[in-house]
Amino acid sequence: MKTSDRSVDFGFEKVPWAQKAERVRAVFSSVAGKYDLMNDLMSFGAHRLWKHFTLSLTGLKAGQHALDVAGGTGDLAVGLARQVGKTGHVVLSDINPDMLSTGRDRLIDAGFAGSVACVLADAERLPWADDSFDCVTIGFGLRNVTDKAAALASMHRVLKPGGQLLVLEFSTPVAPGLKPIYDAYSFGVLPRLGEWVAKDAASYRYLAESIRMHPNQETLLAMLNEAGFGQTRYHNLTGGIVAVHRGYKI
């Protein structure tokens, strides 16, 4: 099937393949200014713990190279920059110029102007040579990518042999009794919170819908295996609301 004939999920909606990237761009351009505030409000601050846990898994050492794909406002990139130190190098990449601009400002304010590069890049076609990075992270970004398999293959390509991919993403709750509460919160509270704080209910409705359409833990694990990653595993956080998937280029 030609790409022009294919459709893809945009939340609960089906949109033409070529349109998803533009619509995702519009969502994140709309929320870029209030993104960090909304993350704190929506997750009651838990997103900081999820990111802290993800960073604890990188195994990065001083002097190594790391890439944060779909890094948005740079939470993970700041942590990566601390791990690789001044002798290392971190790249923050995002497809959305508004998010990347917000992230770049934050990195400069945090004192990482020299060691972190900001690059506008599409996760499906990362513009780096093969075997360039010791660790690649993607935090709450994969579900917004149109072609997830292509993005995983691209991230596998730029990893050095022995390098690790960490995918932090919303997933499927597994804790007993959590799902109905989580659904009520996602579809009842989140869009209203988005309307009050970010003045954009539709974007936060998309957020809740896109989480439901995202592959569950086992499916994403299989996708990592198909992309060529080895030693693949995942860790459920907060009862499976979020999961960290990891795989190595072996």
């Binding site: 898994l57 195994g59 050492k61 295996n225 080895g230 030693q231 693949t232 595993r233 459920n236 072996i250």
Partner: protein, 227 residues
């Protein structure tokens, strides 16, 4: 494949940090590249430890070492681990705690090793070399001085706990041997066994004497001839 517990990821990070800090550990990890070992701790899900690229990967269930190269212990997709260590949590902790002492596990706390014993021995060596410095790890979280105080308090608590266990064991043993007489003491057992030995030797001597008398009696009958 079930989710890997978060605590196991934390242990893996600590071990890999330990490997990074030791040239010897890196060399051992390098030699183990492509192999895996499984820990079967009583009451817990099996933990698969795989080595690759001078790192360790810890996962629960049987799928954790999938897609590792098939060198060494054969940790390839669906392959059995190179070695399996099984035992109670106490026995495995005891094994790890006896740094190269070579002494046998105490009492009934046995660790069973199956598969390639050399792989098991190398993994044990690697785990010893990569064992984290808990005080150093704690100091990263709460600072040097509080970490030192916590460490001293923990050592004192451990010393007290060991003393408590020892004295409790001695008191229980004494009660069972001296008060309730449900068990006998070691000297009594040794005396009893000694008496059994004396009895057995006496019985052997009596048996030999009877045999000799029988032979003598048979010889006399042959001399006298048929009646």
């Amino acid at each position: 494949m079930p989710a890997t517990p978060v605590w196991l990821a934390a242990v893996e990070s600590l071990l890999n940090r330990g490997i990074d800090q030791s040239l010897r550990a890196r060399a051992v990890a390098s030699r183990l590249n492509g192999t895996s070992m499984e820990l079967r701790i009583g009451g817990l899900a099996p933990i698969r430890i795989a080595a690759f690229a001078e790192r360790l990967s810890l996962a629960t269930g049987m799928g954790g070492a999938d897609r590792v190269g098939s060198a060494g212990g054969g940790a390839g997709a669906g392959a059995d681990p190179g070695a399996v260590l099984s035992g109670s949590p106490l026995a495995l902790l005891d094994l790890l705690a006896r740094r190269g002492s070579g002494s046998a596990p105490r009492g009934s706390e046995r660790v069973h090793i199956s598969g390639d014993a050399e792989i098991a021995a190398r993994y044990r060596e690697l785990l010893e070399l990569a064992r984290p410095d808990w005080e150093e790890e704690l100091s990263r979280l709460i600072g040097d001085l509080p970490a030192r105080r916590v460490s001293v308090a923990a050592q004192a608590a451990l010393w007290w706990a060991r003393g408590f266990v020892r004295s409790t064991q001695a008191n229980i043993a004494e009660y069972l041997q001296e008060e309730s007489r449900a068990l006998v003491s070691r000297p009594e057992v040794q005396e009893f066994l000694g008496q059994v030995d004396v009895l057995r030797e006496t019985a052997d001597r009596v048996e030999a004497r009877i045999a000799r008398l029988e032979r003598r009696l048979d010889g006399r009958r042959e001399l006298e001839g048929p009646a």
